[in-house]
Subunit: 196 residues, 2 copies
């Protein structure tokens, strides 16, 4: 079992409705030591890749993306936004993503000026279930004519279809922990054996 | 002139309506070298403080908060959220904040379990104008019976009242760059002399 699987077993909370709550170390209160270990593990798994930019999506992905950037020579981090604001350029790449957490469709976007055809993009996020947000991010990269060199996820919910969808498209998807089964009562969490 | 003032002069865009756009290095595309310098400067200015937790608000504050945490012994980062979601506990501290960027009132909140009476909290954010979000964060800390040891802001818009309000309340507010005057055309940006 790796460090993240151990942390999930120790501190993750399973709730009815297929919800894994990890807001005590990953996406509300952030354990920076765990972040650092996640970042180093992404570096290990994508060590052979040339990366010019890390792309994530607000909000909690920003923590992992910024920590990961340190291990890839402090490359810039770009985060896709979910809502319009007066501070964002009209010239955007946009895609649709369904949020499992908020139960709504979001338009996600990045300003065109920050993704270019020459970019080699590592996509990073904390959580993946249906994979809708990750597919939206790959679409933004493709719209820019840039290249997705890999997708790094801290926790993948293997019972949902996101992982399968994204791997079927040929992307190198690396999830540090894949939860294949879980149950609220009695509390059980089963991880996929990844032989890493 | 310090590194951040130089960066703003070089890359910041002033738009009509008192808008300073820094999304090319601070709050959309994130320049990790600048982040690192900001974090080190916060460490220098709050070096005498005991800090048990860093508090910020989603989304762009997360980048600076996580980078800053490294210089304070990897203390946990807590980010206040702006919307309800199925993954957040009902047991919250809440406060109201007006968003200048989005022109709307937000309810901001943190789960009660992640702020405790013993916490010594350094509040960090990328931008401050009216100070509404910062006042909301100090309210969350006070509701928990915890202590605000300082407030670190990358860019303060000194023409708006936030800085004055917060300093009048006795908080140690440290802004790395304070924009006292700006104009879109001809483009001028004037910084407050802080003698730092």
């Amino acid at each position: 079992m790796n460090f993240l699987e151990e942390k999930i077993l120790a501190d993750g909370i399973v709730k009815e409705g297929n919800i894994l709550k990890v807001d005590n170390f990953l996406n509300h209160l952030i354990d920076m030591d765990i972040m650092d270990q996640i970042a180093q593990e992404f570096k290990r798994r994508f060590n052979d890749k040339e990366v010019t930019k890390i792309l994530t999506i607000e909000a909690s992905g920003i923590a992992i993306a910024c920590t990961t950037a340190r291990y890839f020579g402090n490359v810039p981090v770009l985060f896709a936004k979910k809502s319009h604001s007066v501070n964002v350029d009209d010239d955007k790449y946009t895609a649709q993503a369904y949020s499992f957490t908020h139960k709504q469709m979001n338009q996600v976007f990045v300003s065109k000026r920050y993704l270019s055809a020459g970019d080699k993009v590592l996509i990073i996020d904390d959580f993946m279930a249906q994979g809708s947000a990750m597919l939206a991010l790959t679409s933004l990269v493709e719209q820019a004519g840039a290249e997705v060199v890999g997708i790094g996820i801290a926790i993948e919910k293997g019972v949902q279809e996101g992982g399968e969808l994204i791997r079927a498209k040929g992307f190198q998807l690396e999830s540090i922990a894949i939860v294949d089964d879980m149950q609220a009562s009695p509390r059980t969490i089963k991880f996929r054996d990844q032989n890493n």
